[in-house]
Amino acid sequence: MTEASLAVRIWRGGAEGAYREYTVPRQPAQTVLDVVTHVQRHVDPSLAYRFACRVGMCGSCAMTVNGKARWTCRTHVDSVSDGERLEIAPLSHLPIVRDLVVDMAPFFDRWAQARGSFVPSATRADDFARVEPASPARAEVDAAIECIGCAVCYASCDVVGWKPGYLGPAALNRAWTLVNDARDADGSARLQAVAGDAGCHACHTHQSCTERCPKHLAPTRSIAGLKRLVARAALKGAL
Protein backbone atom coordinates (compact mmCIF):
# COMPACT_ATOMS: atom_id res chain seq x y z
CA MET A 1 0.00 0.00 0.00
CA THR A 2 1.54 3.26 -1.12
CA GLU A 3 1.75 5.86 1.58
CA ALA A 4 0.05 9.04 0.52
CA SER A 5 1.71 12.26 1.55
CA LEU A 6 0.73 15.85 1.95
CA ALA A 7 2.64 18.97 0.90
CA VAL A 8 2.38 21.54 3.68
CA ARG A 9 3.49 25.17 3.68
CA ILE A 10 4.10 26.48 7.19
CA TRP A 11 4.95 30.06 8.12
CA ARG A 12 8.33 30.34 9.78
CA GLY A 13 9.80 33.37 11.48
CA GLY A 14 8.18 36.62 12.61
CA ALA A 15 6.29 39.16 10.54
CA GLU A 16 9.28 39.22 8.16
CA GLY A 17 9.27 35.45 7.79
CA ALA A 18 8.39 33.14 4.93
CA TYR A 19 6.63 29.89 4.17
CA ARG A 20 8.67 26.72 4.30
CA GLU A 21 7.51 23.53 2.63
CA TYR A 22 7.32 20.17 4.38
CA THR A 23 6.09 16.73 3.35
CA VAL A 24 3.95 14.90 5.87
CA PRO A 25 2.53 11.36 5.67
CA ARG A 26 -1.24 11.24 5.29
CA GLN A 27 -3.18 9.48 7.99
CA PRO A 28 -6.89 8.66 8.25
CA ALA A 29 -8.87 11.23 10.27
CA GLN A 30 -5.79 13.47 10.36
CA THR A 31 -6.27 16.97 11.76
CA VAL A 32 -4.20 20.05 10.93
CA LEU A 33 -2.87 19.97 14.51
CA ASP A 34 -1.67 16.41 13.85
CA VAL A 35 0.21 17.73 10.83
CA VAL A 36 1.88 20.55 12.78
CA THR A 37 2.75 18.16 15.61
CA HIS A 38 4.30 15.70 13.18
CA VAL A 39 6.51 18.42 11.67
CA GLN A 40 7.71 19.58 15.08
CA ARG A 41 8.39 16.06 16.37
CA HIS A 42 9.86 14.38 13.30
CA VAL A 43 11.00 17.03 10.85
CA ASP A 44 11.92 20.33 12.48
CA PRO A 45 11.91 20.63 16.29
CA SER A 46 12.40 24.40 16.10
CA LEU A 47 8.81 24.93 14.92
CA ALA A 48 6.88 26.98 17.51
CA TYR A 49 3.13 26.51 17.93
CA ARG A 50 0.44 26.52 20.63
CA PHE A 51 -2.02 23.86 21.69
CA ALA A 52 -3.45 22.57 24.95
CA CYS A 53 -6.54 20.38 25.10
CA ARG A 54 -6.37 19.21 21.43
CA VAL A 55 -10.08 18.26 21.66
CA GLY A 56 -11.82 21.51 20.70
CA MET A 57 -12.43 23.06 24.12
CA CYS A 58 -9.68 25.59 24.82
CA GLY A 59 -9.14 27.45 21.54
CA SER A 60 -5.33 27.59 21.98
CA CYS A 61 -4.58 25.95 18.62
CA ALA A 62 -6.25 28.64 16.49
CA MET A 63 -4.28 29.34 13.31
CA THR A 64 -4.88 30.47 9.72
CA VAL A 65 -5.45 27.37 7.58
CA ASN A 66 -5.67 27.91 3.80
CA GLY A 67 -6.53 31.54 4.47
CA LYS A 68 -9.24 31.03 7.10
CA ALA A 69 -8.89 31.21 10.89
CA ARG A 70 -9.78 27.87 12.48
CA TRP A 71 -9.09 25.58 15.44
CA THR A 72 -6.50 23.21 14.01
CA CYS A 73 -7.45 20.36 16.37
CA ARG A 74 -10.98 20.44 14.98
CA THR A 75 -10.01 20.83 11.33
CA HIS A 76 -9.67 17.63 9.38
CA VAL A 77 -7.12 17.79 6.61
CA ASP A 78 -9.68 16.15 4.29
CA SER A 79 -12.03 19.08 4.62
CA VAL A 80 -9.59 21.89 3.92
CA SER A 81 -6.72 20.88 1.71
CA ASP A 82 -7.34 22.14 -1.80
CA GLY A 83 -5.77 19.54 -4.01
CA GLU A 84 -3.57 17.93 -1.37
CA ARG A 85 -1.98 21.29 -0.48
CA LEU A 86 -2.15 22.82 2.97
CA GLU A 87 -1.04 26.30 4.01
CA ILE A 88 -0.70 27.03 7.73
CA ALA A 89 0.04 30.49 9.10
CA PRO A 90 -0.42 32.29 12.42
CA LEU A 91 -3.64 34.22 13.14
CA SER A 92 -4.08 37.53 11.36
CA HIS A 93 -4.18 40.95 13.06
CA LEU A 94 -2.01 39.95 16.04
CA PRO A 95 1.75 40.45 16.44
CA ILE A 96 3.68 37.31 15.56
CA VAL A 97 5.95 36.02 18.33
CA ARG A 98 7.46 33.27 16.18
CA ASP A 99 6.23 30.84 13.52
CA LEU A 100 2.62 29.95 14.40
CA VAL A 101 2.52 31.72 17.77
CA VAL A 102 0.89 35.16 18.12
CA ASP A 103 0.86 37.65 20.97
CA MET A 104 -2.68 37.59 22.37
CA ALA A 105 -2.16 40.69 24.55
CA PRO A 106 -3.74 43.23 22.13
CA PHE A 107 -6.81 40.97 21.87
CA PHE A 108 -7.30 40.97 25.64
CA ASP A 109 -6.39 44.67 25.91
CA ARG A 110 -9.44 45.41 23.80
CA TRP A 111 -11.51 43.14 26.03
CA ALA A 112 -10.48 45.30 28.98
CA GLN A 113 -11.06 48.52 27.07
CA ALA A 114 -14.61 47.38 26.29
CA ARG A 115 -15.04 46.88 30.06
CA GLY A 116 -15.65 43.21 29.37
CA SER A 117 -15.62 42.04 32.95
CA PHE A 118 -18.38 41.59 35.47
CA VAL A 119 -18.88 44.31 38.09
CA PRO A 120 -20.93 43.04 41.02
CA SER A 121 -23.89 44.95 42.42
CA ALA A 122 -24.25 42.79 45.50
CA THR A 123 -21.94 41.44 48.22
CA ARG A 124 -21.54 38.01 49.78
CA ALA A 125 -23.75 39.23 52.60
CA ASP A 126 -26.70 39.63 50.20
CA ASP A 127 -29.03 36.85 49.21
CA PHE A 128 -28.55 35.02 45.88
CA ALA A 129 -29.55 36.97 42.80
CA ARG A 130 -32.71 35.68 41.15
CA VAL A 131 -32.33 35.64 37.38
CA GLU A 132 -35.17 34.17 35.38
CA PRO A 133 -33.51 31.83 32.83
CA ALA A 134 -36.28 32.32 30.30
CA SER A 135 -36.24 36.11 30.44
CA PRO A 136 -35.35 37.82 27.13
CA ALA A 137 -32.25 39.44 28.62
CA ARG A 138 -30.93 36.16 29.99
CA ALA A 139 -31.65 34.45 26.67
CA GLU A 140 -29.44 37.05 24.98
CA VAL A 141 -26.67 36.39 27.49
CA ASP A 142 -26.93 32.62 27.11
CA ALA A 143 -26.71 32.87 23.32
CA ALA A 144 -23.41 34.72 23.53
CA ILE A 145 -21.77 33.58 26.76
CA GLU A 146 -19.85 30.53 25.50
CA CYS A 147 -16.97 32.57 24.09
CA ILE A 148 -13.59 31.19 25.20
CA GLY A 149 -11.45 33.99 23.79
CA CYS A 150 -9.73 32.08 20.99
CA ALA A 151 -9.43 35.17 18.73
CA VAL A 152 -10.66 33.42 15.58
CA CYS A 153 -13.32 36.12 15.13
CA TYR A 154 -10.79 38.89 15.75
CA ALA A 155 -8.47 37.38 13.16
CA SER A 156 -11.34 37.03 10.68
CA CYS A 157 -12.70 40.57 10.99
CA ASP A 158 -11.49 42.92 8.25
CA VAL A 159 -12.48 46.01 10.25
CA VAL A 160 -9.91 44.90 12.84
CA GLY A 161 -7.39 44.95 10.00
CA TRP A 162 -8.50 48.37 8.70
CA LYS A 163 -8.90 50.17 12.05
CA PRO A 164 -6.08 49.42 14.48
CA GLY A 165 -8.06 50.63 17.51
CA TYR A 166 -11.29 48.69 16.78
CA LEU A 167 -12.41 46.77 19.86
CA GLY A 168 -13.35 43.77 17.76
CA PRO A 169 -16.11 41.16 17.80
CA ALA A 170 -15.07 39.17 20.90
CA ALA A 171 -14.70 42.15 23.24
CA LEU A 172 -17.99 43.63 22.04
CA ASN A 173 -19.76 40.28 22.26
CA ARG A 174 -18.61 39.91 25.87
CA ALA A 175 -19.73 43.46 26.67
CA TRP A 176 -23.16 42.55 25.29
CA THR A 177 -23.46 39.59 27.67
CA LEU A 178 -22.65 41.89 30.57
CA VAL A 179 -25.03 44.72 29.70
CA ASN A 180 -27.78 42.09 29.61
CA ASP A 181 -26.72 40.60 32.94
CA ALA A 182 -29.24 41.66 35.59
CA ARG A 183 -26.61 41.39 38.34
CA ASP A 184 -24.01 43.64 36.68
CA ALA A 185 -23.56 47.22 37.92
CA ASP A 186 -21.33 48.74 35.23
CA GLY A 187 -24.14 49.54 32.75
CA SER A 188 -23.65 53.13 31.64
CA ALA A 189 -19.84 53.14 31.82
CA ARG A 190 -19.73 50.06 29.66
CA LEU A 191 -22.08 51.58 27.07
CA GLN A 192 -19.78 54.59 26.84
CA ALA A 193 -16.80 52.27 26.44
CA VAL A 194 -18.30 50.29 23.55
CA ALA A 195 -19.77 53.23 21.62
CA GLY A 196 -17.72 55.19 19.14
CA ASP A 197 -15.78 54.99 15.90
CA ALA A 198 -13.55 52.30 17.42
CA GLY A 199 -16.47 50.53 19.06
CA CYS A 200 -19.73 48.97 18.00
CA HIS A 201 -20.36 51.63 15.34
CA ALA A 202 -17.37 50.42 13.34
CA CYS A 203 -19.05 47.07 12.67
CA HIS A 204 -20.29 46.84 9.08
CA THR A 205 -22.01 43.49 9.39
CA HIS A 206 -19.47 41.58 7.29
CA GLN A 207 -20.35 38.65 9.53
CA SER A 208 -16.95 37.04 9.05
CA CYS A 209 -16.89 36.62 12.83
CA THR A 210 -20.18 34.77 12.85
CA GLU A 211 -19.14 32.74 9.82
CA ARG A 212 -15.92 31.52 11.47
CA CYS A 213 -16.72 31.26 15.20
CA PRO A 214 -15.97 27.67 16.23
CA LYS A 215 -18.56 27.89 19.00
CA HIS A 216 -21.19 29.08 16.49
CA LEU A 217 -21.73 32.35 18.30
CA ALA A 218 -22.97 35.43 16.50
CA PRO A 219 -20.97 38.52 17.51
CA THR A 220 -22.70 40.43 14.69
CA ARG A 221 -25.98 39.98 16.50
CA SER A 222 -24.49 41.06 19.83
CA ILE A 223 -22.95 44.16 18.26
CA ALA A 224 -26.28 45.07 16.62
CA GLY A 225 -27.82 44.83 20.08
CA LEU A 226 -25.16 47.15 21.48
CA LYS A 227 -25.88 49.65 18.70
CA ARG A 228 -29.53 49.73 19.74
CA LEU A 229 -28.77 50.10 23.46
CA VAL A 230 -26.21 52.81 22.85
CA ALA A 231 -28.62 54.73 20.59
CA ARG A 232 -31.32 54.52 23.23
CA ALA A 233 -28.89 55.86 25.84
CA ALA A 234 -27.89 58.74 23.57
CA LEU A 235 -31.54 59.63 22.93
CA LYS A 236 -32.09 59.74 26.69
CA GLY A 237 -29.05 61.97 27.10
CA ALA A 238 -27.34 59.28 29.15
CA LEU A 239 -24.29 58.78 26.93
Binding site: W162, A195, D197, G199, H201, H204, V230, A233, L239
Partner: protein
Protein backbone atom coordinates in the same frame (compact mmCIF):
# COMPACT_ATOMS: atom_id res chain seq x y z
CA UNK B 1 -20.21 65.93 23.63
CA UNK B 2 -18.06 62.87 24.19
CA UNK B 3 -16.60 61.13 21.13
CA UNK B 4 -18.79 58.14 21.94
CA UNK B 5 -21.93 60.28 21.93
CA UNK B 6 -20.88 62.04 18.71
CA UNK B 7 -20.33 58.70 16.98
CA UNK B 8 -23.72 57.51 18.20
CA UNK B 9 -25.50 60.56 16.83
CA UNK B 10 -23.71 60.11 13.47
CA UNK B 11 -24.86 56.49 13.40
CA UNK B 12 -28.44 57.54 14.22
CA UNK B 13 -28.41 60.24 11.53
CA UNK B 14 -27.13 57.71 9.01
CA UNK B 15 -29.86 55.16 9.87
CA UNK B 16 -32.71 57.69 10.05
CA UNK B 17 -31.71 59.20 6.70
CA UNK B 18 -31.42 55.64 5.36
CA UNK B 19 -35.00 54.88 6.40
CA UNK B 20 -36.24 58.08 4.70
CA UNK B 21 -34.20 57.26 1.60
CA UNK B 22 -35.58 53.72 1.49
CA UNK B 23 -38.99 55.20 0.73
CA UNK B 24 -37.69 57.98 -1.52
CA UNK B 25 -35.56 55.62 -3.59
CA UNK B 26 -38.38 53.12 -4.06
CA UNK B 27 -40.57 55.91 -5.42
CA UNK B 28 -37.66 57.24 -7.49
CA UNK B 29 -36.91 53.84 -9.03
CA UNK B 30 -40.55 53.34 -9.95
CA UNK B 31 -40.65 56.83 -11.45
CA UNK B 32 -37.47 56.18 -13.45
CA UNK B 33 -38.76 52.92 -14.89
CA UNK B 34 -42.12 54.50 -15.73
CA UNK B 35 -40.78 57.80 -17.09
CA UNK B 36 -38.04 56.30 -19.26
CA UNK B 37 -40.64 53.87 -20.60
CA UNK B 38 -42.72 56.85 -21.68
CA UNK B 39 -39.72 58.55 -23.33
CA UNK B 40 -37.94 61.07 -21.17
CA UNK B 41 -37.97 64.77 -22.15
CA UNK B 42 -37.36 68.05 -20.33
CA UNK B 43 -41.01 68.90 -20.82
CA UNK B 44 -42.11 65.62 -19.23
CA UNK B 45 -39.93 66.17 -16.15
CA UNK B 46 -41.09 69.75 -15.72
CA UNK B 47 -44.72 68.75 -16.22
CA UNK B 48 -44.46 66.12 -13.51
CA UNK B 49 -42.91 68.58 -11.06
CA UNK B 50 -45.74 71.04 -11.74
CA UNK B 51 -48.51 68.46 -11.62
CA UNK B 52 -48.69 68.55 -7.82
CA UNK B 53 -47.02 70.16 -4.83
CA UNK B 54 -46.24 66.67 -3.63
CA UNK B 55 -43.44 66.22 -6.17
CA UNK B 56 -41.29 69.25 -5.20
CA UNK B 57 -41.85 68.43 -1.54
CA UNK B 58 -40.89 64.82 -2.17
CA UNK B 59 -37.69 65.75 -4.01
CA UNK B 60 -36.88 68.38 -1.37
CA UNK B 61 -37.02 65.74 1.38
CA UNK B 62 -35.03 63.38 -0.86
CA UNK B 63 -32.26 65.98 -1.30
CA UNK B 64 -31.99 66.70 2.44
CA UNK B 65 -31.80 63.00 3.28
CA UNK B 66 -29.09 62.43 0.66
CA UNK B 67 -27.09 65.45 1.90
CA UNK B 68 -27.01 63.80 5.36
CA UNK B 69 -26.50 60.19 4.25
CA UNK B 70 -23.81 60.39 1.54
CA UNK B 71 -21.15 62.41 3.43
CA UNK B 72 -21.52 60.25 6.54
CA UNK B 73 -21.03 57.13 4.43
CA UNK B 74 -18.07 58.68 2.66
CA UNK B 75 -16.51 59.57 6.02
CA UNK B 76 -16.33 55.88 6.99
CA UNK B 77 -14.92 54.78 3.64
CA UNK B 78 -12.22 57.48 3.70
CA UNK B 79 -11.24 56.47 7.23
CA UNK B 80 -11.03 52.75 6.55
CA UNK B 81 -9.74 52.57 2.97
CA UNK B 82 -7.60 55.69 2.59
CA UNK B 83 -6.57 56.53 6.15
CA UNK B 84 -7.96 60.05 5.75
CA UNK B 85 -9.55 61.15 9.03
CA UNK B 86 -9.66 64.06 11.47
CA UNK B 87 -10.97 67.60 11.66
CA UNK B 88 -9.90 68.62 8.16
CA UNK B 89 -11.73 65.67 6.64
CA UNK B 90 -14.85 66.40 8.69
CA UNK B 91 -14.83 70.02 7.53
CA UNK B 92 -14.40 68.95 3.90
CA UNK B 93 -17.29 66.51 4.26
CA UNK B 94 -19.50 69.17 5.82
CA UNK B 95 -18.77 71.37 2.80
CA UNK B 96 -19.61 68.46 0.52
CA UNK B 97 -22.91 68.05 2.37
CA UNK B 98 -23.72 71.71 1.84
CA UNK B 99 -22.80 71.41 -1.85
CA UNK B 100 -25.18 68.47 -2.27
CA UNK B 101 -27.91 70.34 -0.41
CA UNK B 102 -27.49 73.51 -2.45
CA UNK B 103 -27.11 71.69 -5.76
CA UNK B 104 -30.07 69.43 -5.14
CA UNK B 105 -32.43 72.15 -3.94
CA UNK B 106 -31.35 74.34 -6.86
CA UNK B 107 -32.27 71.54 -9.26
CA UNK B 108 -35.67 71.14 -7.61
CA UNK B 109 -36.31 74.88 -7.76
CA UNK B 110 -35.26 75.02 -11.40
CA UNK B 111 -37.69 72.32 -12.37
CA UNK B 112 -40.50 73.80 -10.27
CA UNK B 113 -40.22 77.39 -11.44
Amino acid sequence: MTPAAAATWRWLAQRVSAAVLAICVLVHLATIVYATGQGLTAAAIVARLHASLAWPLFYGVFVVAVAVHAPLGLRVVLDEWSGLRGRAVDVALALFALTLLAGGLHAVRTLTA
